[in-house]
């Protein structure tokens, strides 16, 4: 029952912290952040330890279908449908589990320093809930269970984005994230219907080995991909992620950089055999991934909020991973998921440390020169910066380079995609250097009030930074731990990986140099811009659109037709009533006269021959 215990530990943490929250509230006190944080961190860390044990027990064979399976109970059983509630840990889900629990426990630890006492038990409860749901997502042995995790992380993300519920803007951002994810979730829901109709099963292992008819495979694949675009913030459902930065920064690090947003990659890798049955699907995935990578990299160059830059960069990196899945090499994508989890979590936590030090300032044009006052943050951030740029020997170098290589040589690779990715890598180097320099170098542009309080973060915050910095440095040295039975290489034929390495390092250096030239001495601030205005378009088309359809329904159809029919029938009855009311004069003698006349008429009728009835 090791896997089950592993999944249930964060749930236990959730309940403990929830109980703590309410008991503190009943006593009219604030819960202590240390107690709540320790509960949460221990729950996650114990899960991590179990995950390591489970991973080691998989053995060294490296075969991807080796796994530990635990069946708990029968969830839904109706007709031919039978959904087991069970968990399965194999190489693929093992990596995700390690990342979730490992990075997760570091971020829990970091949060102890970052959060205040106020509402902290609630915060850690949500964070634990998120980890529980995320573990369900990656360890669930059937699609409904994945869906449970899929919606569950959406819920936890909703709760955490809107954690500071004092401001309505945060709530609105949370709502936006939840709703956009719901649109994506529909894809997964419909994909399950298709799977059940044609394959008769929702079990992941059975489904992966099932061969669909081509058009069914295309429909299934596209629906799954729709779900992935929602969760992993790809075109067309990506606009929620920058808004999601309204949540506390550790949340952004855990949910919106390291784990939740990579669940799309998980699902694509998990269902890779089915995805591979339809070239159309693969092409769409690669094209959308490349497009998203480029588009959000461009947008990132125009942002001035430190978290927004990192958010767009996350979307861009996720695009890289999608390309890896789309060209038919999901193992490089998963590898990048892992390294990205390290360095992006590091970058976010570093940013959190900066924000914490500057009492909440997030505008990079109001920072500068923080290298000396925040040395630990600076050095670990440097590791993250080097990793995302892809400088050897940092982890990002291996994974990003792997994707660049695969995009050219893998079964479905092409020159166009490679070119787009290479240009994106250049932009990545540019905007990350811009961020890095504006924050840590040059002259200090802090306001007087802030400058006095600048301080390095406490040890609970810097310790996770150090661990993650180490991981960002060394995480790539062991190569992709998962090997799929990928198809023979097609694409553009053999290209030397060393050539790609040289090209990618050169590109990164060029981007970094440009960023250095442009921003090292410049102080003037730039306005945040969204060059594509997708968000505004969505607001108009879908927000206002729904509003308009709804008000059309309520005003014209409902009020104009249905309610009017009802009123009309009511009025008709009224009219009839009024018509007959005139007979009711209220005079008893009038009624009596009527009665007498009626009796006389009746008697006359009986006597003088209305004999028709009955004969």
């Amino acid at each position: 029952m090791m896997i089950t215990l592993l999944v249930l530990l964060p749930l236990l943490g959730f309940f403990l912290n929830g109980f703590y929250h309410f008991s503190a509230q009943a006593r009219k006190t604030e819960p202590s952040v240390v107690v709540a944080g320790v509960i949460g961190t221990i729950a996650l860390f114990a899960a991590f330890a179990l995950a390591v044990v489970a991973w080691l027990s998989l053995g060294k064979s490296g075969a991807w279908d080796v796994g530990i399976e635990e069946r708990l109970f029968s969830w839904m059983k109706l007709g031919t449908l039978h959904v087991e509630f069970g968990y399965r840990l194999d190489r693929l889900s093992g990596i995700f589990t390690l990342v979730i629990t490992g990075v997760g426990s570091l971020i829990h630890l970091y949060s102890i320093g970052y959060m205040e006492n106020k509402g902290s038990a609630r915060y850690f409860a949500y964070l634990n809930l998120f980890c529980f749901m995320m573990l369900n997502l990656v360890l669930g042995s059937s699609l409904p269970l994945v869906f449970l995790g899929w919606e569950g992380v959406g819920l936890a993300s909703y709760l955490l984005i809107g954690f500071w519920s004092g401001e309505m803007a945060n709530i609105m951002a949370a709502q936006k994230a939840f709703l956009m994810n719901r649109v994506g979730d529909l894809g997964l829901l419909f994909a399950m219907f298709i799977a059940f109709k044609f394959a008769g099963t929702l079990d992941l292992a059975d489904l992966s080995s099932y061969s669909f008819k081509p058009e069914v495979a295309t429909a299934f694949g596209l629906l799954i991909f729709l779900a992935c675009t929602g969760k992993s913030a790809q075109i067309p459902l990506f606009t929620w992620l920058p808004d999601a930065m309204a949540g506390p920064t550790p949340v952004s690090a855990l949910i919106h950089a390291a784990t939740m947003v990579t669940s799309g990659i998980y699902l694509l890798a998990r269902l890779n055999p089915v995805m591979g049955q339809s070239p159309t699907v693969l092409f769409v995935i690669a094209a959308v991934g490349a497009g998203t990578a480029l588009m959000s990299a461009i947008t990132a160059c125009f942002q001035s909020d430190i978290k927004k830059v990192l958010a767009y960069s996350t979307i861009s990196q996720l695009g890289f991973m999608f390309v890896a899945c789309g060209v038919g090499s999901p193992e490089t994508g998963v590898f990048h998921v892992m390294t990205h989890a390290f360095f992006k979590a590091l970058l976010f936590l570093g940013a959190g440390s900066v924000i914490h030090a500057l009492s909440g300032t997030q505008d990079i044009f109001k920072m500068g020169g923080l290298r000396s006052s925040l040395p630990l943050t600076f050095w670990t951030f440097t590791a993250g910066w080097a990793a995302i740029l892809g400088l050897p020997p940092f982890s990002g170098f291996f994974s990003k380079d792997g994707i660049l290589h695969e995009s050219l040589v893998a079964a479905h690779g092409s020159r166009v995609i490679f070119a787009v990715l290479a240009f994106t890598a250049f932009l990545t180097a540019f905007y990350m250097t811009r961020l890095y320099i504006l924050v840590f170098f040059g002259q200090s542009r802090l306001s007087e009030g802030v400058r006095k309080h600048v301080h390095e973060s406490p040890i609970v915050m810097t310790l996770p930074l150090l661990f993650l910095g180490l991981a960002a440095l060394a995480g790539g040295w062991f190569g992709a731990p998962v090997r799929f039975e990928s198809g023979h290489h097609g694409g553009v034929g053999e290209v030397s990986p060393y050539l790609i390495m040289v090209i990618s390092v050169f590109i990164a250096a060029a981007g970094a140099f440009l960023g250095y030239r442009k921003y090292f001495r410049s102080n003037h601030s730039e306005k945040t811009r969204d060059p594509f205005r997708v968000d505004e378009i969505y607001t108009v088309v879908f927000g206002r659109g729904t509003e308009m359809v709804a008000s059309f329904c309520s005003r014209f159809i409902e009020e104009g037709v249905f309610q009017r029919i009802l009123q009309f029938s009511g009025a008709a009855v009224d009219l009839g009533g009024n018509l007959f009311k005139t007979v009711q004069t209220g005079s008893a003698q009038g009624y009596l006269l009527m009665m007498v006349l009626a009796v006389v008429a009746l008697v006359c009728g009986l006597i003088f021959g209305v004999h028709g009835y009955g004969n």
Binding site: M76, P144, M168, F193, T546, G570
Partner: protein, 488 residues
């Protein structure tokens, strides 16, 4: 005592409760009502548990009992009661709804509480009679009798303009009932003409209706169908609902959304399905479309709705659209899923209206529209509300998810188009429910109106236990759905 005898005793028990409520002093009416309905719930569960958790459909069929008693021989009507896997859940839900409705606090316990409790027990009786009866004449009478306490509740304790609401409710429901009665009499007269003895028992009428053909069968079908479609309601027949839900006092709203609507669902499953299988098959495409349109259209209206009660009213229609989608698959699995979702909807809508009544209790004279900042002042109530909202948007793990998922899964092979159309209701559902909960939970009002939202304590005591048990139930069956489905 034989189970079959105890069934008629069981049926009449609420009438004793009703008489007793007239003897109980005013002050303890609420306690009496809650206690008596809890007792009745326990008895119902005891009576039905064998069938509910039979473990297999064969066992459930063996355990189901039928009890007959000649009643109106002129109409060939027998009082024949049947408790089986179709009716068992509805009977239990009926008792549960009564507990929840009686647990609300408000004007009904200050102004004429005896009338209120006795009406409630009469409603309980009428609904049970309708759910248990296999005889169509008796069913019709019970179906109509439910209407009387409803009218009184809205009329006596409703808000302003209640006369209009009652009138519309009456008009629409009565129209449906009359059509059903005409259809029923048509069937009976056919029976007389054929020379066989008169019997309004379902099984005898099934034998008769299978002989009907063409337009005749369709017209008779429409009579029955319209009555139930208005009761549920399906979309073009829903216009009575908004005003009634809005103006009715909370217990009446709970009764209507939680269980009266299920009377329509039950009627289709129990009577229309076996009576007119061919006609249903003929209209199936249209009916599925109607159900899907109900889901979407009501969701859009809920999105536009300003008043929380109105919003929940429309959301009720939307969710019942899913239920009807499952029913109209005309397959055993689809219908089982529909019953599953019905149970979920009953629990959650009753819970939501109950919590809303708690909110209304606090604001005392303020419009529900101006309620803000619940999260700060009533954290427990607010968390309960949030969990209910989650169940309502059918988050996986809740009973409502299992129901909705299975309904859509079974509807997909029948009509992919309608399933996808209804699926979008899930997104809209999330949109309006979040809007509802955020508006109440957060934010600050423009003027200082919310300062008055301070009356009374947070959820506690019996109410907290009730809410907690309901939520537990929703989650328990959300994960142990197999246990639920075994009896079907």
């Amino acid at each position: 005592m034989e189970i079959s005898d105890s069934l008629s005793f069981f049926l009449t028990l609420p009438l004793f409760g009703m008489v007793l409520s007239l003897l109980i002093p005013r002050g303890v009416q609420r306690i009496y009502a809650i206690f008596a309905s809890l007792l009745f719930l326990a008895l119902t569960v005891y009576e039905a548990s064998g069938i509910l958790f039979a473990g297999s459909s064969e066992l459930a069929a063996r355990l189901s009992v039928e009890h007959q008693l000649l009643w109106l021989p002129q109409l060939g009507s027998r009082l024949s009661l049947k408790l089986d896997s179709v009716s068992a859940w509805f009977v239990v839900l009926n008792a549960l709804t009564a507990v929840i409705a009686f647990s609300t606090k408000g004007a009904w316990y200050r102004k004429n509480p005896k009338l209120f409790t006795s009406l409630g027990f009469f409603l309980l009786f009428g609904l049970n009679a309708a759910f248990l009866s296999l005889d169509l004449v008796v069913f019709y009478l019970a179906y109509e009798s439910v209407f009387i306490p409803m009218i009184f509740m809205v009329g006596v304790w409703g808000e302003r303009q209640k006369a209009t609401a009652v009138f519309r409710f009456f008009l629409m429901s009565f129209l449906g009932s009359i059509l059903m009665l005409v259809s029923l009499f048509f069937l009976l007269s056919k029976q007389v003409k054929s020379g066989a003895g008169v019997s309004s028992h379902l099984s005898d009428l099934v034998a008769l209706s299978s002989g009907l053909e063409g337009a005749e069968a369709k017209l008779v079908f429409l009579g029955f169908f319209l009555a139930f479609a208005i009761k549920v309601p399906l979309v073009p027949f829903h216009s009575w609902l908004k005003d009634v839900y809005n103006l009715a006092p909370f217990p009446a709203t709970i009764w209507m959304s939680a269980i009266l609507s299920k009377l329509g669902v039950y009627g289709v499953i129990r009577f229309v399905e076996p009576l007119f299988p061919q006609v249903l098959g003929f209209f199936q495409g249209g009916l599925l479309f109607l159900a899907a349109v109900s889901v979407i259209y009501a969701a859009l209206l809920a999105y536009r709705a300003n008043h929380p009660k109105e919003l929940l009213a429309y959301s009720s229609i939307s969710h019942l659209g899913f239920v009807m989608l499952g029913v109209f698959t005309l397959k055993a699995q689809g219908i089982s899923s529909a019953i599953l979702l019905s149970v979920g909807h009953t629990l959650v809508s009753a819970l939501l209206f109950f919590l809303l009544s708690k909110v209304e209790e606090k604001k005392e004279g303020l419009d529900l529209l101006s309620v803000h900042g619940l999260s700060r002042r009533y954290p427990v109530l607010f968390v309960a509300l949030f969990v209910a909202v989650l169940a309502s948007v059918s988050l996986p793990g809740t009973l409502n998810f299992a129901g909705e998922f299975l309904v859509l899964l079974n509807a997909y092979p029948v009509s992919a188009f309608c399933t996808i159309l209804a699926g979008f209701g899930a997104v809209l559902g999330a949109a309006y429910m979040l809007k509802f909960y955020q508006q109440m939970g957060f934010g600050t009002p423009s003027s200082g109106t919310s300062e008055q939202v301070t009356r009374g304590d947070d959820l506690g005591g019996f109410e907290l236990v009730l809410v907690f048990v309901l939520i537990l139930f929703v989650f328990y069956f959300g994960f142990q759905t197999s246990v639920f489905l075994k009896g079907n």
